[in-house]
Amino acid sequence: MNGVHDMGGMDGFGKVEPEANEPMFHEEWESRVLAMVRAMGAAGAFNIDTSRFYRETLPPHVYLSSSYYKKWFLGLEEMLMEKGYLTRDEVAAGHAMQPAKTLKHGKFDLGQVERIMVRGKFARPAPAPAKFSIGDRVRARNIHPATHTRLPRYVRGHVGVVELNHGCHVFPDSAAMELGENPQWLYTVVFEGRDLWGEDGDPTLKVSIDAFEPYLDPA
């Protein structure tokens, strides 16, 4: 979706402000939110792409004015309500009032912690040969799905070169909408900065994205 989360190339957000000796969490609740998201995801309530989609669909003014973990919290709460793991009445009351929904992988208990500290695997067997080879010129498609996609707006319509082939991966556009993993070939595609930003762009700049095959046409 063409949301405010798709920030590449936007102007007006000001300077980057690094914080010296930044703590891992600024408030304790942030750590609880992180842990709940990780736990409920691991228990099978949602996948990582769905959780990203719920953050992206926060109203633009909420997205832009909320801290990072506040966005995580708001996305989590909404997602769990929509998926039927809790109800609005329960959230309002602050207590469970309805029977629990069965989690695909069961309750998240202490025995599950070790496995979530290992990064998940997203590579899948290839359903078809790769369409593109390293060195091929490709054009990012001019598509604007209203649902989740990982093709940023700033490259759409532009021509780049395939630089790496990462194999077949879970396709976020499908997984986010709970339409299955639908594995697709994944490539690093590199664009000239001036092709993206015009003649005033930095002539020394090259930008790459990781693009799934359905995002690309031959050029």
């Binding site: 957000f13 609740w29 709940m36 469970a96 990064r119 997203f122 590579a123 700033y154």
Partner: protein, 209 residues
């Protein structure tokens, strides 16, 4: 570790913010419904606080500086090479290591959310996840670097890697001069988090840290 649910909220201040109350309520509901065990949440947080962090990435970079065969393997297949170091946090299958050279500087961003090599660098800093960096890194990286007091030669290529999939990128910075004969442990002390994102350089030998 205590299983007492309320112990996370033993703050000095008597008033809880609206967000704190809502987070607390959500955890109560998830616990009462039997979805999560609070002690497991405690353990997740503890694991993030102790097991991951830039020290993991620094060891990898230092080894690459000291060991040409490891460096070659790391650039060929980052996940596989790091997998041979038993003591470093497990990074999964999709880590790509990109090398800074005298001609090319690499910088990593996630314009769409906050993708970041957690196992190598820990949880990302706020600036990495915030709008100014995500919006400008792909369009005006030299301007972003100026915010970090970093200046590159005018003719140096800048390559920005936008982390739009589950691949993760780690920058291998150039080894500082004046470190000949240093041990991997000494070298690791020079490797900063930002130098592995591409928004900074390693420390200079002898400079105050």
């Amino acid at each position: 570790m205590s299983h007492d649910h309320d112990h996370h909220y033993d703050h000095d201040h008597s008033e809880l913010s609206e967000t704190e109350l809502r987070v607390r309520a959500l955890e109560t509901i998830l616990t009462e419904k039997g979805y999560v065990e609070p002690a497991a949440l405690d353990a997740i947080i503890q694991a993030y606080e102790t097991k991951i962090g830039p020290h993991n990435g620094a060891r990898v970079v230092a080894k690459a500086w000291a060991d040409p065969a490891f460096k070659a393997a790391l650039l060929e297949d980052g996940s596989k090479a790091i997998g041979t170091l038993g003591h470093v946090s497990r990074v999964g299958d999709h880590l790509v290591v990109v090398e800074n050279t005298p001609r090319r500087h690499n910088m990593v961003v996630c314009t769409l959310c906050s993708c970041y090599p957690w196992e190598m660098l820990g949880l990302p800093p706020v600036w990495y996840k915030a709008a100014p960096y995500r919006s400008r890194a792909v369009k005006d990286p030299r301007g972003v670097l100026a915010d970090f007091d970093v200046t590159l030669p005018k003719d140096m290529e800048i390559r920005v890697w936008d982390s739009t999939a589950e691949t993760r990128f780690l920058v291998l910075p150039m080894r500082p001069e004046g470190t000949e004969g240093w041990s991997e442990e000494q070298l690791a002390e020079l490797v900063t988090r930002d130098s592995m994102i591409g928004t900074g350089f390693p420390k200079t030998p002898g400079a105050p840290s």
